[in-house]
């Protein structure tokens, strides 16, 4: 195995599995700073995971295997997703391939299982969150596919390695296709990570929950899995954004070296967005995603007109 491959696998696995909770931690930290509060340290998610790991749990009476296995399956989906998303254009085959549509499927599986667990515990607040999450997902998934289609038609493949290599350098930015795709993908990042204006990850009010809703009846290590999965989802979509939809260099080492800076910058950007925007009404969110989908569709057409 070559040196770049070893380094890429290390970054991919350690970054995705271990360092991903830093991303929501950083966002929270900077958001507090931007709002003039001191706020928690960026390490706060780790402290919470440690606390949850040592807590015991109480099962919900009358539930089935769906409730019991849901956190592990959601965690497994994100483990597979982390294994699927490469951090640069070096092949790091971990057995799950590198296809971007498979990634969409894995995220859908995680969503299905979480929502099914909400039905199993039959908690009204959980179901309210699941119902809204699934409603947004209908529009987010179509937008996600269109945004990815922009990058796929530009590079001629849905293989993430080819997509990262094909969008590297400055050449692709001369046509309007990729910027339009990036605009759409940016909104998808916000929706998938459950951040404002789509969702408010800080809320403690059950009535306003979306992603947090199905988590209500979990505690201890189960909840730790689910919180880790939310952090890993940040990692997956933000790495995709950084290495496909934002300018990145051609060299594989340069791609690796740039990644931490770009991820940090994106955390800052998300913190800024969360500070500037309020959460929008649930029923208005699909319109915003509709705008994003139209932008991505224009991107596909723009590429066709350009004939490149």
């Amino acid at each position: 195995m070559t040196a770049p491959a070893v380094a890429s696998i290390a970054v991919q696995v350690i970054g995705g599995l271990v360092l991903s909770p830093l991303l929501p931690g950083l966002i929270q930290h900077w958001k507090a700073r931007l709002q003039g509060r001191r706020g928690p340290s960026p390490m706060q998610p780790y402290r919470e995971l440690r606390r949850l790991w040592s807590k015991s749990t109480v099962d919900v009476a009358g539930t089935t295997f769906v409730y019991r296995f849901a956190p592990a399956v959601v965690g497994a989906c994100l483990v597979a997703a982390v294994g699927l998303v490469p951090v640069n254009a070096v092949r790091t085959n971990l057995g799950v391939g590198h296809d971007v549509i498979v990634l969409v499927g894995l995220l859908a599986l995680a969503r299905f299982v979480a929502a099914a667990s909400a039905w199993d515990v039959a908690n009204g607040f959980s179901l309210m969150g699941a119902s809204r999450d699934l409603t947004i997902a209908v529009f987010a998934e179509a937008t996600l596919l269109l945004a990815l289609a922009v990058a796929a038609v530009l590079t001629g493949t849905t293989n993430l390695l080819g997509m990262i290599a094909g969008t590297a350098g400055g050449g692709v930015w001369s046509s309007p296709a990729l910027p339009l795709g990036a605009l759409a993908f940016g909104l998808v990042v916000v929706a998938e990570t459950g951040r404002q204006p789509f969702d408010n990850p800080d809320t403690h009010l059950e009535l306003t929950m979306m992603h947090e809703g199905p988590l209500l009846e979990y505690a201890g290590r189960d909840l730790a899995y689910l919180q880790w999965a939310a952090a890993a989802r940040h990692w997956v979509v933000m790495v995709l954004a950084a290495q496909i939809f934002l300018p990145h260099p051609r060299g594989v080492w340069a791609q690796l070296a740039m990644l931490p800076f770009v991820l940090t910058l994106m955390c800052g950007a998300l913190a800024l967005v969360e500070t500037l925007l309020a959460k929008m009404r649930v029923l208005l969110a699909p319109r915003l995603l509709g705008v994003a989908a139209s932008a991505a569709l224009l991107g596909v057409i723009a590429r066709g007109v350009g004939g490149s």
Partner: protein
């Protein structure tokens, strides 16, 4: 060898049909039919695997001929795979009354009619099989429902729409036979009027039978009426045979079609899949919901077919073959999981007595076998990895993406829109089946009788378990099938044979690897979590007691989406609040999402037709003199026409 197997399978089913009529032997008859269906499946799989055609080749002559090639073999294998469990299931689902036995015998006849259609090698056998396949379910529904008012109405709508639309099939097939192109590619020229005429007629006629929007109105009415095994056969195989006919006409016989026709097929597919799943989401009766999902899945199959036509028109033969393989793979997959879901619905109806989603709940604990199989089927139809629905949706998405990649602006945009439509469809299907699974299998029982539901008899459990196993196996090794399906296209060679899907210019779908990673990670995380020591406690609902009747309903769960789509769907709802002395004593709520196409297209057409009929009825005076007058007029008109020279 293979031909003998087909005859053996068909003969066993035919013998089973006869035996099933006798009261003493009727279960053996159904078992014999199931064995025959299994033999058909084995023979079909052998044909698909080897590619050796047996029997006659296609002919434009009107002499009856039978034969099987790879495409027919695939549909026969699918038929056998669905029919064998469905027939075994029937042996406990039906009773030994004369009506029950007759339904069992007719189910076998229905299977034979479908097998005959798939084997037909001339126009007459083809049309005969086509009509029998349409008529037999109608007879079965009327028999099974004792011809009550609701079933009569459904069957009338079913027959009326499939026969009005079915004219297209007759026109297309007879035109093809007349031109000598029934089974012969290259006879009809590219872009000729005949080619376009046949293609459009076939799209209408066979599209009606397949249930594509807007010709689908019969499907959600007829399918839920039938007994569960027949519903499984109708949704699983009957509408697929219309897809078979479309593939024959569009891909095999008409040669390369103009690009616009492919885009039209794409549009039909996109509208069908989004429309079908949207209305399914707002449906609160399980069998109707499943029937609407058949429209969605036919839409996905038609999307694959449309992608194949567009790509072929662009000369991208490799990807056209893959798109066709995607459509065929989804055909097989949908047959398996839809049959599974319909059979489970039948079992639930047997044990609980109702399929109203809001009155079920908690059945996973009461009926562990049926419940677990239903859960697998729901995940498969929602297109989730690592089950079979995901593999075929993945391949279809890749094919559509390839249409979007093609250099032409308009076609590329069409491909991208279709891609987004399929993406939204997949997410809607996830939404819908989370709802179904939650309302049927999970949570507390919502009614007292659901709490005492019992698991069904062993053959019924075995049937759904076999189909659930098929969902898992087809999800693990789709590549073995796809490598054969690619060879069905008349213009392409073989693909590599591997378990997963390894396709150029994609990241590939290593199904086994994904399944292993998912299962291993789930197992590891479950082990790490350890056992629980604290006793279980009820759900926390702010200190209130948990009341099953106050659980979330089907309408409530889907309300956010209903509100978002309000502008398009125009839902109706009525709330009656009765107050007495300022105190609310009674609240009545009624809401529904009316089907727009029924309201906007079918209703006006029906109204105009009835109005027209009212005028036409005035011609029927009933007096002999008037009729003689009509005859005299007719003779005069003919004479005048002849005189002027209109008659040549």
């Amino acid at each position: 060898m293979s031909a003998a197997l087909y005859w053996l399978g068909g003969g066993a089913i035919a013998a089973g049909v006869v035996v099933a009529l006798f009261r003493a032997q009727w279960r053996r008859g159904l078992a014999l039919q199931a064995v025959g269906a299994t033999v058909l499946m084995v023979a079909g799989v052998a044909t698909v695997a080897t590619g050796h055609a047996v029997g006659a080749a296609f002919t434009s002559q009107l002499t009856p001929r039978l034969g099987v090639d790879r495409l027919s073999g695939l549909f026969l294998a699918t038929l056998g795979l669905v029919a064998a469990p469905a027939l075994a299931y029937s042996s406990r689902y039906l009773d030994d009354s004369f009506r029950g036995r007759l339904v069992g015998a007719l189910t076998g006849a229905f299977v034979l009619a479908m097998a005959g259609l798939a084997c037909a090698r001339d126009a007459i056998t083809f049309l005969g099989g086509w009509e029998l396949m349409s008529l037999l379910p109608a007879v079965i529904i009327l028999l099974y429902r004792n011809a009550d008012a609701e079933s009569r109405r459904s069957v009338f709508i079913y027959l009326a729409i499939t026969h009005l639309g079915g004219v297209g099939t007759w026109v297309a097939v007879l035109l093809l036979a007349h031109a000598g192109a029934f089974g012969a590619a290259g006879v009809i020229h590219y872009g000729s009027g005949l080619q376009i005429g046949v293609a459009v007629a076939a799209l209408i006629g066979m599209g009606t039978k397949a249930g594509v929007v807007p010709l689908h109105a019969w499907l959600p009415r007829a399918h839920p009426m039938a007994p569960a095994p027949v519903s499984a056969l109708m949704s699983g195989v009957m509408i697929k045979l219309a897809v078979y006919a479309m593939i024959r006409v569009f891909v095999d016989w008409l040669g390369v079609l103009p690009t616009w026709f492919g885009v039209l097929v794409l549009a039909v597919g996109a509208v069908s899949c989004v429309g079908g799943v949207t209305y399914a989401l707002f449906q609160h009766e399980l069998k109707r919901l499943l029937a609407l999902h058949s429209i969605e899945n036919i839409g996905i199959i038609v999307l694959g077919l449309g992608a194949c036509l567009v790509l072929r028109a662009h000369g991208e033969d490799v990807w056209a073959a893959l798109a066709l393989a995607a459509a065929l793979l989804h055909t097989v997959n949908h047959a398996v999981f839809k049959a599974l879901l319909f059979l489970c619905a039948g079992s639930i109806e047997r044990s609980v007595g109702s399929l109203e989603l809001n009155q079920l709940g908690g059945l996973l604990r009461r009926m562990p076998w049926t419940g677990a199989a239903f859960f697998v089927g729901a995940m498969a139809i929602a297109g989730l990895p690592p089950l079979n629905g995901f593999a075929s949706e993945w391949l279809t998405l890749q094919a559509l993406l390839h249409v979007a990649m093609s250099g032409h602006v308009g076609d590329g945009a069409a491909g991208a829109v279709a891609l987004a439509a399929l993406g939204a469809t997949a997410a809607l299907a996830v939404f819908c089946f989370v709802k179904v699974v939650g309302l049927v299998l999970l949570g507390p029982p919502r009614r007292a009788h659901v709490r005492d539901a019992l698991e069904v008899a062993a053959p019924m459990r075995a049937a759904v378990t076999v189909l659930a196993g098929a969902c898992i196996v087809l999800g693990l090794v789709p590549g073995l099938l796809v490598s054969r399906l690619v060879a069905i296209a008349p213009w392409s060679g073989d693909a590599t044979v591997r378990a997963g899907l390894y396709v150029p210019s994609t990241g590939s779908l290593p199904t086994v690897g994904i399944a292993v990673v998912l299962v291993a990670a789930t197992g590891l995380l479950t082990l790490l979590r350890g056992r629980r020591t604290a006793p279980a406690a009820p759900t926390w609902v702010c200190g209130q007691p948990v009341v099953p009747q106050l659980q979330w309903s089907s309408a409530g769960f889907t309300k956010p989406l209903r509100l978002v789509l309000e502008v398009v769907l125009r839902p109706r709802r009525e709330i009656d609040v009765h107050t007495r002395g300022g105190v609310v004593t009674e609240v009545a709520y009624e809401g529904e999402v009316p089907n727009l196409i029924d309201e906007r297209i079918y209703r006006p057409v029906a109204r105009w037709s009835l109005a027209g009929a009212a005028y036409a009825r005035r011609l029927q005076s009933g007096s002999l003199g008037t009729y003689v007058g009509y005859l005299v007029c007719l003779v005069l008109v003919v004479l005048i026409a002849d005189r002027i020279g209109w008659l040549g």
